[in-house]
């Protein structure tokens, strides 16, 4: 049985530290990470400690890094392993806390948010992730005027995460049409790990 370490949304060096701690207690672990730097850092740490390392790519930019200490071999002394690679400063996430852009006039705000998302799709550098919460979740459900654009963003590799509490509150849980349901833990860790957050 592999011990699971979920390090998605964690900024460097957290994934490495979490993996290192888990390896002290378990001989086989799998670390879930969601960015290249974390994947490389965990892989390197595993190799340094004498583990067998395999990586598989999962949908949504997630990697499963499998580390095993074959035959229960003791860990080699890896020394200091939590070396951070520079983060890609072009990375950003988008947080949509409402179904409008800006506050003041909702009719206008609804037009603006549609224009925002349409324009986002044309950016060369797409966000790594989009978070939807409060009335923002209404943008990701059936009948939303931005569904087409969000679906295209999702297909282009942007992770669309929609607050489950909010969907539930509005009775829209079974109407989610794009992306996945997320929780506050993922929202907080995602924001904390983000280089930049766009909040239109």
């Amino acid at each position: 049985m592999e011990h699971v370490v979920d390090a998605r949304g964690q900024a460097c060096p957290q994934p490495v530290i979490m993996a290192r701690q888990a390896l002290a207690e378990h001989s086989r672990i799998v670390v879930y990470v969601d960015n290249d730097a974390a994947r490389e850092n965990v892989r390197r740490m595993g190799a340094k400690l004498g583990c067998e390392v395999t990586i598989d790519r999962r949908p949504g930019g997630v990697f499963h890094v499998h580390l095993s200490r074959s035959g229960g071999k003791p860990l080699a002394d890896g020394g200091t392993v939590a070396v951070c690679q520079p983060v890609n400063t072009h990375d950003y996430i988008v947080a949509l806390s409402g179904e409008t852009m800006g506050k003041g006039n909702d009719e206008l705000g609804a037009v603006l948010v549609r224009a925002f998302i349409h324009t986002l799709l044309q950016m060369e550098n797409l966000p790594t992730r989009m978070l939807f919460y409060n009335t923002g979740v209404k943008l990701a459900v059936q009948g939303s005027p931005v569904l087409d654009d969000l679906t295209q963003l999702s297909e282009a590799g942007v992770e669309i995460l929609v607050c489950g509490t909010c969907l539930n509150f509005f009775g829209l849980t079974d109407k989610l049409a794009v992306g996945g349901v997320t929780n506050m833990y993922e929202i907080v860790t995602g924001m904390a790990a983000a280089t930049r957050i766009l909040a239109p």
């Binding site: 009719e107 206008l108 037009v111 549609r114 224009a115 349409h118 324009t119 005027p145 087409d148």
Partner: protein, 74 residues
């Protein structure tokens, strides 16, 4: 890249664009409200992107409902 040939319908104001959108929605004609492309105008305006094949029936649907400034290729 696009299989569909698009055109854009430009309006005098955002309100005109919204009214036109409502009209096309009611008429069941496909369209999309998008920001006015930068090569057309640097204003922060919105316009309707339409399938060029629908141009005639769109002009007909909008006539009498809302005045549009111009329809041109995207």
């Amino acid at each position: 890249m696009n299989a569909v040939e698009y055109q854009v319908v430009l309006f005098k104001s955002v309100s005109h664009a919204l009214l036109a959108e409502k009209t096309l929605k009611a008429a069941g004609i496909p369209h999309k409200l998008i920001p006015v492309p930068r090569h057309i105008s640097s204003d922060c305006g919105v316009c309707l992107r339409i399938d060029a094949a629908d141009r005639v029936r769109i002009e007909r649907a909008l006539a009498g409902a809302v005045g549009c400034e111009k329809i041109q290729p995207l």
